[in-house]
Amino acid sequence: MKTVSSTATLWSKISAALPRDEEEFPLQFGDKVESSVVEMLKRCRRQLYSDATAASRMLNAQIVVDVSWEKLNTGTWRHVDKEWRRVYSCGCLFKVAALCRDDPSADEVVQAVRTCDMGLLMGADIMDDILQVIVRILQGEVRKPTELEEESEHTEVKRMKTEIPRAPVIKEELAIPRIKCPSLESFSTNYLLPLKPVVLEGTIGHWPALNEHPWSIGYLRSVAGCRTVPVEVGSRYTDEGWSQTLLTVNEFIDRHIWNKIPELKEDIRPPDYCCLGEGDEDDITVNAWFGPGGTVSPLHQDPQQNFLAQVVGSKYIRLYSPEDTDKLYPHQSKLLHNTSQVEVENPDAERFPEFARAPYLECVLQPGDVLFIPVRHWHYVRSLELSFSVSFWWS
């Protein structure tokens, strides 16, 4: 990789990240990718390193994106050939190059960021995660919000603080036990092996995400505002109007978040206790969850162990043992068979008579707490205020 000065143009920074020439640009795909598509990819590659009109570069890149998009939507996602996902990422790469080549406008840069995100979300790794490298370069080019915008957000913050969240009182006999910094051995013996839930206190206090300077909406926008992320829309996923969509972080903040939210930092660490599992660090699935107060995750179970770390705001959580599944009325359909039909805090006693007899444990998870949800334990979550959590799925 060549080094470039800070005054280099956007294109020179991007092309420094790309292979030096056509020969060094790999385009090898398995049999599933037809030769006609490979031919289109080769045309794109040729145009990357030679003269061509902007329109022609865009057209050829878009053809690759469109044809691979169709493959990605054919059949079940699980069975989509990884080669087609790589083709899709290549198409996105060529499209980004076409957009950024000739002094791109601000709008073209935003489009390029979105294209990188689509390639990262739906594609598969190509050329050592080159889309990640390029999107970082692009983010540096996207303008930060003005001071005026930050001011108006502060006044909204003051209004929201006068609302008091409805926090349930936890009954002592039903409370999930709490323990401060247990040793690996004691966690393993007392909680992991017998699959008993517990709230771990004081284990993530060192996270930079909990130690840093005050976060602001402005900071999040400047760091990640133009990035596209999957968003669940609707207060619970069993509602009819619930859907998933792709939004930029800016759009998500504008439409759904009105309060201070923390910045999503990269340096959060999986709890040490994950090492007691069978997989290694790469097998841990980390997800960040943020959303307004009142967001409900309906009662459901997951096929892996889960550490739910609370960073900002608090959540009311109730746990049911897998032994009591028969009292929890899971949906019959294949899609939702790990989800209960019962509304936990407002159960329909006529339709679900056994539910009231199912024993449970509960807690209010506070910032700094980590809840161990043993594998297949049913869990129900309601955020009591704006909440930011990180979950670690491991086996």
């Binding site: 030769s35 006609s36 031919e39 057209l59 469109d66 054919t74 059949g75 915008e149 009105w258």
Partner: protein
């Protein structure tokens, strides 16, 4: 043809109807001057000529420019042909052959002998139907069909199938994740299952796109179901109505609240009204668009339009059936339509000279 890729020398997106160029004169080929049928995949077009010297000619992404448009020697004497992105399937009176289009080989990659049905057993069926079954898009290529289905025609996408029986009943099977089976849900079917919503209404013509299904009733009505993400069902599609470039500073209280109902997936057949009202004679689907010919010779198209495949001189998708005005302006009657993945081919009859 509209929307053809790489077919005309310089234009990748052809957004208005354009007469198919024939290389006949220079090479003495019969292509396109006599009656022929068109089949198209993503990157190629096959022209089928059925006269005393039946043959198939290929155009598009062919391995050698030299034989583009010339009759394929391997195809001489064939009765029917189907083209996919990877292979050309030929039906002869006594056998079926599948040729790999990505390699230049002397023998077909797959073949099967068939016993031609007796003359009295009714009209012959076209590919992908073959005696006793059909040719699938992926291995195993030959699959049997119960004779009780009395298959009259069959349309396949890579993940689902629709069968029209002699009685006018419609059966579907395969993946249903986008509602393309028309049974009201999203689950798959392993065996042909009758589309109950259409029972009692005989259908006369069927077609499939990648994720949608269309059929025409005896009375000329059009029924659609499946995925509508590009407006290919002719029903309101959200993606086609999203405002581009709205100010990001609008909060939910200030933004416009549209109360429109959009349809993303139509899991039961829906009757599609084409205005002004008309009877549909034939229909064909590309991956994400639909084209229909009326009994009065008009062509209507709707769905994905990014490559000009709708023929309205634009690159805009449409979720409402729109007439292709070109043919009226040129005083041509559209007789039939065939869609490739991202393009559309119309056979026309000119008022003064008869040709197709």
């Amino acid at each position: 043809m509209e929307g053809a890729r790489g077919d005309a020398a310089n234009d990748v997106k052809v957004s208005g109807p354009t007469e198919l160029a024939s290389k006949a004169d220079r090479r003495g080929c019969c292509c396109l001057k006599t009656a022929c049928q068109i089949r198209a995949s993503w990157s190629r077009r096959a022209s089928l000529h059925f006269d005393s010297d039946s043959c198939v000619c290929l155009a598009g992404f062919v391995s050698s420019e030299a034989w583009s448009g010339l009759p394929l020697r391997e195809s001489r004497g064939c009765r029917d042909a189907l083209i996919s992105e990877s292979c050309l399937t030929l039906a002869f009176s006594d056998r079926l052959e599948s040729w790999d289009l990505q390699k230049e080989e002397k023998t077909p990659s797959w073949s099967m002998e068939i016993t031609p049905p007796p003359e009295s057993s009714g009209p012959s069926v076209g590919l992908p139907l073959v005696p006793g079954g059909y040719i699938a898009t992926k291995p195993p290529l030959y699959r049997s069909l119960s004779p009780q289905l009395r298959a009259k025609s069959l349309a396949l996408s890579s993940e689902h199938a629709i069968l029209l029986s002699a009685s006018g009943a419609v059966y579907t099977w395969g993946l249903g994740s986008h509602g393309q089976l028309g049974h009201g849900g999203l689950s798959s079917e392993e065996e042909p299952r009758a589309v109950e919503a259409l029972l009692g209404m005989p259908m006369s013509c069927i077609a499939t796109g990648s994720w949608h299904t269309v059929c025409i009733s005896d009375g000329g009505d059009l029924y659609v179901w499946g995925w509508n993400e590009s407006g290919q069902l002719g029903l309101p599609s959200r993606a086609l109505h999203q405002d581009v470039g709205t100010s990001p500073a609008e909060g939910p209280q200030e933004g416009e609240q549209h109360e429109e109902v959009f349809i993303s997936i139509q899991a039961f057949p829906a009757l599609l009204d084409i205005t002004p009202s008309c009877e549909i004679r034939s229909v064909s689907c590309g991956c994400r668009h639909t084209a229909a010919v009326t009994t009065t010779g008009d062509l209507y198209t709707w769905g994905w339009g990014d490559y000009g495949q709708l023929g309205h001189q634009t690159l805009i998708s449409s979720d409402e059936p729109q007439r292709v005005e070109f043919f009226r302006e040129q005083q041509m009657q559209v007789a039939d339509v065939v869609c490739g993945s991202w393009n559309t081919f119309a056979a026309v009859v000119k008022d003064e000279v008869s040709c197709s």
